[in-house]
Amino acid sequence: MNPSIDIDDLGFERGAHLLIKHALRGVAPGGRLAVSCRAPDFGVHLLGWCRAQGHRLELSAQTPGLAWITPGDAHANRWHGAERAGAPTPSSPQADGVAASDVADHAAPAWGLAARGALVEAGGPDFGFALDTKRAIWADDVAHLYAQAQAQQWNPDDAIDWTQPFELPDEVEDAVVQVMTYLIENENAALLVPARFLGQVHPHFREVTQLLAIQIADEARHIEVFTRRAQLKRRRMGVSTVGGQASLKTLFDESEFAVASFLLSVLGEGTFVSLLRFLQEHAPDPVTRQIARLTARDEARHVAFGMAHLEYQLQHDPELRGRLALAVQSRFDTLAQTSGLNEEVFDALVLLAAGGWSIGQIASGFDKVQALKQDMAGGRQMRMKRLGFELGEAKRLAALHTRNFM
């Protein structure tokens, strides 16, 4: 039996099409829908609407406001060849709500920007996402890392007491400003390098894009707090050297996500965690110590994603290990002619740790920076061992890491 619907005085200017579309879903193939409506101009609008929708319309000659609609096949045709962007989600979710089966090994270009699991109309544009395989960007605990990152966000205005009173000798304050200047330069790289990859990641791997986005926001916040600390007592920033920027430029030149992630996150940011913890312990003022504590926690999370991704990819692509080793060697060769960590930064770290100009203070500061460098190298070795490098190889590569730290 053909269905019918009476929509009273609800015209097209107030949503009649919704009720009609809803009722048309109940029409069996070959059937038609009787529609009654007392809204002014209903017949005129129904005529235009049916034509645009590809439905056949018959208006009653006897009864004003009564019409019969025979649905066309345009709606069904539109969804012919449509496909789900990844598997639907009936499987039992894993921890963090991500069922492994939901994430495709290869995200089809045709899925475009669609939500994972959405029904995607065929024929959409190709966005050309270069990082479209799970192997190239995934990490098993990426959803957990994202949730953790969300929970650990902090507001520089609230988390840091910028009004804490302190007074440093002029040269020590200058040293802090120089270290902040250096940190900002490196954080600019840590923001922009993942940002360049982010635009290439297929949005099907949404946990990865979310995590990279929040990582970039972390770096933006770090740039803010280092700048605020540098300008807390001074109007003039420190220096930036060719050697430092040349070292960072090699990170921009790396086109493979895994290799860039290794150089930036595992080696560079890993080393930075040591540096920030050093500042947390030895900085001469409470504001710098507070900043160092908060930023070190964020950086440790960035290292964790880099490690987790590389562990995942190495399981599927053991040859990657060779490419990683080659990348460290190649970067070392490229930078062999540069001066490494600039003297101003090194001296500033010593003075900052020394806290004054006495012979005893300087000797103590120097020892602390030497210990820092050993700690950094040890950390790099440990992470490389975790990634499956032999101890000897890990030691050799750890030593080749850029003298610029990042």
Partner: protein, 286 residues
């Protein structure tokens, strides 16, 4: 070797026209039909090119069809309409007034200001004005005609004139405005005409819109192939669907010429073309 490319004329009423016909050209090429298109800035020159041999087929407005049909008859070169969109069939035009204007019947428009579209718009000018003429109201004599002339020569393909008239109606500068039925729905939906503030005073009988027009000397085999390809285009084909959406159809239909009688009468009554297809409307600029 003679050029076997089938050349179609289309009028560039909007930038999307290039996207549409480039897409069709690619589709036809993929189905072994050498096809190209030429864009005209107005339908009058396109119709002339159909007879001068510049093009083999014209994607014609209904008014351009009338002119081609008249020229063809006068020259002994009858024209055919080989295909049209499903959305070209059975359109109507409406005359819209403000709900609170106190205009109850068509006769109440006597002495009023009626807004129409471009001078060459079948749907927003020629057909509704002739409808009023047949109801006993002579345009310019029994009521004032205010024209919203947008892009002369494009036969009202550009929606702008109708929207301008609708806005003038709401601004109180007009007592009635003429438009195609679908545009009243659009203007109400988008808020150009606020819900409940206007009503349709009158609706014309149904008429047809565009078609592919060919003359008798068009290359028969290629025209046949074009026709076959058009009819085989399916809205279910993802490669074709965006083109159909842009051109505003769900399916191509066989061309029919039974739906142009209303416009024929309107053209004669307005003295727009003579029986030979010569332009006689003195104010027409394109």
């Amino acid at each position: 070797m003679a050029d076997k490319t089938l050349v179609m004329g289309a009028v560039a009423y909007a930038p999307k026209v290039v996207t549409i016909w480039d897409g069709f050209k690619e589709y036809f090429a993929g189905h072994d039909l050498a096809f190209d298109y030429v864009l005209f800035s107005n339908y009058e020159r396109q119709v002339q090119a159909l007879f001068d041999g510049g093009i083999d087929v014209a994607w014609n407005s209904p008014l351009a069809w009338i002119r081609a049909e008249r020229i063809g008859r006068a020259r002994g070169q009858p024209v055919r309409a080989i295909a049209m969109r499903d959305t070209d069939c059975d359109l109507t035009s409406v005359i819209v007034v403000r709900s609170d204007a106190g205009i109850k019947t068509v006769a109440d428009l006597k002495g009023k200001r009626v807004g129409v579209g471009a001078i060459d718009s079948p749907q927003a000018t020629l057909i509704p004005l002739n409808y009023l003429r047949e109801q006993g109201l002579k345009p310019g004599t029994d009521f004032t005609v205010r024209r919203f002339d947008v892009l002369g020569g494009k036969h009202g393909d550009h929606i702008g004139g109708e929207r301008d008239a609708a806005q003038a109606l709401m601004a109180g500068e007009l007592d009635a405005a003429c438009m195609i039925d679908g545009n009243h729905l659009l203007f109400v939906s988008e808020g150009t005409l606020p819900a409940g503030r206007t009503r349709v005073l009158a609706q014309t009988p149904a008429y047809d819109h565009c078609n592919f027009t060919v003359t008798a000397r068009a290359p028969g085999a290629q025209i046949e192939q074009l026709h076959r390809l058009l009819m085989s285009m399916s809205y279910a084909d993802a490669a074709v669907r965006p083109l159909l959406d842009l051109e505003g159809l769900k399916a191509w239909k066989q061309g029919r010429t039974s739906g142009y009688a209303l416009l024929e009468k309107a053209v004669d009554a307005a003295r727009f073309y003579d029986t030979q297809g010569t332009i006689v409307e003195p104010e027409y600029r394109y």
